[in-house]
């Protein structure tokens, strides 16, 4: 069984946010909700300054704090390492959201289903179709587009990225692209001091 992970190549990311749009489209995410964000940070002192773009999403932690605190057992880890939320079990207590150090969880706003994106009390055809995947009030997060992964495809953000800054693959396969990049370019997980053992790595 594979153990899926992702590598972000910070040298390649240009901050175009195409991944964000691809994710929103794939997952029918409502206004203000993101499963992935590309953060920007300025560094250095004038005149030697620069800007780096840092893609972020759920790190699918091996030792996931969100899973530990879930009182209903809704958050669980699949055999392939993807951390999932079972909407039928989730009670929307948001314990996982305050436990996730990466702030990668969102709550499905109940009002959204009544008022719609434009507040006209009517859902657009896109919303009518897309929101069927959500249970109002529950917590949702990135699951590496698990339905695409199950079909043998890469996550939507990966295929959308125009610079190949996002690389998806099996961390347990030493010959996979992700393993190779992590090994050769010293891949670093985000906030390693928290010991959550993310399956997402950054290379610079």
């Amino acid at each position: 069984m594979a153990r899926y992970g992702m590598v972000f190549d910070l040298r390649r990311c240009i901050g175009c946010n195409a991944c964000v749009i691809g994710c929103k489209q794939e997952n029918s995410l409502p206004d203000g909700m993101f499963f992935t964000r590309t953060l920007s940070e300025e560094y250095g002192v004038y005149p030697a300054v620069g800007r780096v773009y840092i893609p972020t999403l759920c790190n699918q932690c091996e030792d996931a704090p969100c899973e530990k605190v879930c009182p209903s057992g809704a958050t669980y880890t699949r055999d392939d390492g993807i951390v999932m939320v079972d909407a039928d079990l989730c009670i929307g207590c948001s314990s996982c959201a305050v436990a996730c150090p990466y702030d990668q969880r969102s709550q499905v706003d109940k009002d959204l289903f009544e008022h719609g994106l434009f507040g006209t009390d009517e859902l657009t055809p896109f919303e009518k179709d897309g929101y069927q995947r959500f249970v109002p009030g529950t917590i949702v997060k990135c699951d590496f587009c698990s339905e695409r992964v199950d079909a043998g495809l890469d996550p939507a953000c990966v295929v959308t990225c125009p610079t190949d800054a996002r690389i998806f693959g099996d961390l347990d396969d030493p010959d996979s692209k992700v393993s190779e990049l992590i090994r050769e370019r010293n891949g670093k997980p985000p906030m390693p001091e928290l010991k959550t053992r993310p399956k997402v790595f950054y290379i610079d």
């Binding site: 972000f8 910070l10 946010n17 203000g32 964000r37 590309t38 953060l39 920007s40 940070e41 780096v52 840092i54 972020t56 704090p65 530990k68 605190v69 879930c70 009182p71 209903s72 057992g73 809704a74 079990l89 989730c90 009670i91 929307g92 207590c93 948001s94 314990s95 959201a97 305050v98 436990a99 996730c100 150090p101 990466y102 702030d103 969880r105 709550q107 499905v108 109940k110 249970v135 109002p136 009030g137 529950t138 917590i139 670093k188 997980p189 985000p190 906030m191 390693p192 001091e193 928290l194 959550t196 950054y202 610079d204």
Partner: protein, 299 residues
């Protein structure tokens, strides 16, 4: 990156501190009512004061439950929160509340109607009920602090001082409410118990203030996010409610009143109001000032 460079970024796609926005005022209300109710029950329990015990259970049972349910995204499935006591403080707390209300009610009924004698149960059963009721009340007073302290995401909360502050605030609120409720009944015959409890309330206030200061000190020294939270409370947008309500109304005013005029009902009433205002403000502000750590470690 220097402390003054750690920005609060709101919804923008930047690296910086982001407010936690999941546990809001309804959760603060639930924590406040749960701790205060259990604190009142526990202190009244020590004095065998049944009206205080019953009021404490009503505050927890009705108000805490109500505010928790209003917070839940899927209220009809709230019962599922009981399913994972092996790993979740929310589950442990919910089980604690059930035990507290069950054994607290049994103990109150036993105190009022002497059930153990009328049912021929013996003192062992009564003692066991008392023991379970007191232990469960302790769980209810502290579990919310444990639930917060387990969040490594928010430095302000991530300290074992958090359950201690929950316990101290609960006991302080419980003590001052017991004094007020027992003014013309429990403490009418003898003032020594009242004086004793007033002294203990003063001591609890002092220790609570030290613990709150220690929480801020440790957060400030732990991380960039912790610094942002402390800055928000002491000098930032929450400085007025923190200094006026949490510190002034919650600690200084009641300490002075209880020290200068412990036998004056109005003074004790004002002190109790101040303690509760400070306590509630603390609960709200500790949620509002919680921020996620800025992303780091990628370069």
């Amino acid at each position: 990156m220097a402390m003054q460079d750690t920005k609060i970024i709101g919804d923008s796609f930047e690296v910086g501190a982001r407010f936690q926005r999941y546990w809001d005022t309804s959760m603060a209300n639930a924590f406040f009512c749960g701790e205060l109710g259990a604190g009142l029950f526990f202190v009244s329990f020590l004095f065998d004061f049944v009206p205080g015990m019953v009021t404490g259970m009503l505050i927890t049972g009705i108000f805490k439950s109500f505010f928790h349910i209003t917070h839940m995204g899927v209220p009809m499935k709230s019962w599922r929160a009981i399913l994972r006591p092996d790993r979740s403080w929310i589950s442990r707390g919910l089980i604690g509340i059930v035990f507290y209300l069950l054994f607290g009610t049994l103990h109150s009924l036993n105190m009022t109607f002497d059930l153990q004698a009328s049912l021929g149960l013996g003192t062992a059963a009564g003692n066991l009920i008392q023991f379970f009721a007191a232990c469960a009340a302790l769980v209810v007073m502290t579990y919310q602090g444990f639930a917060m302290s387990h969040s490594t995401a928010i430095s302000l909360w991530n300290t074992l001082l958090m359950p201690l502050s929950s316990l101290l605030y609960a006991l302080t609120g419980g003590a001052v409410l017991t004094i007020l409720m027992g003014w013309n009944s429990l403490f009418a015959m003898t003032t020594s118990g009242q004086k004793h409890l007033t002294s203990e309330t003063l001591l609890l206030l002092l220790i609570s203030a030290i613990v709150v200061a220690s929480i801020l000190y440790s957060a400030n020294n732990r991380s960039r996010g912790g610094k942002v939270s402390v800055r928000l409370l002491l000098t930032g947008s929450f400085r007025q409610p923190f200094w006026y309500l949490v510190t002034g109304a919650g600690f200084i005013l009641p300490a002075l009143l209880l020290w200068v005029a412990p036998g004056n009902f109005i003074a004790v009433l004002v002190a109790a109001t101040g303690i509760l205002v400070g306590y509630y403000s603390y609960r709200v502000l500790i949620f509002k000032s919680g921020v996620y750590e800025p992303m780091s470690g990628f370069r």
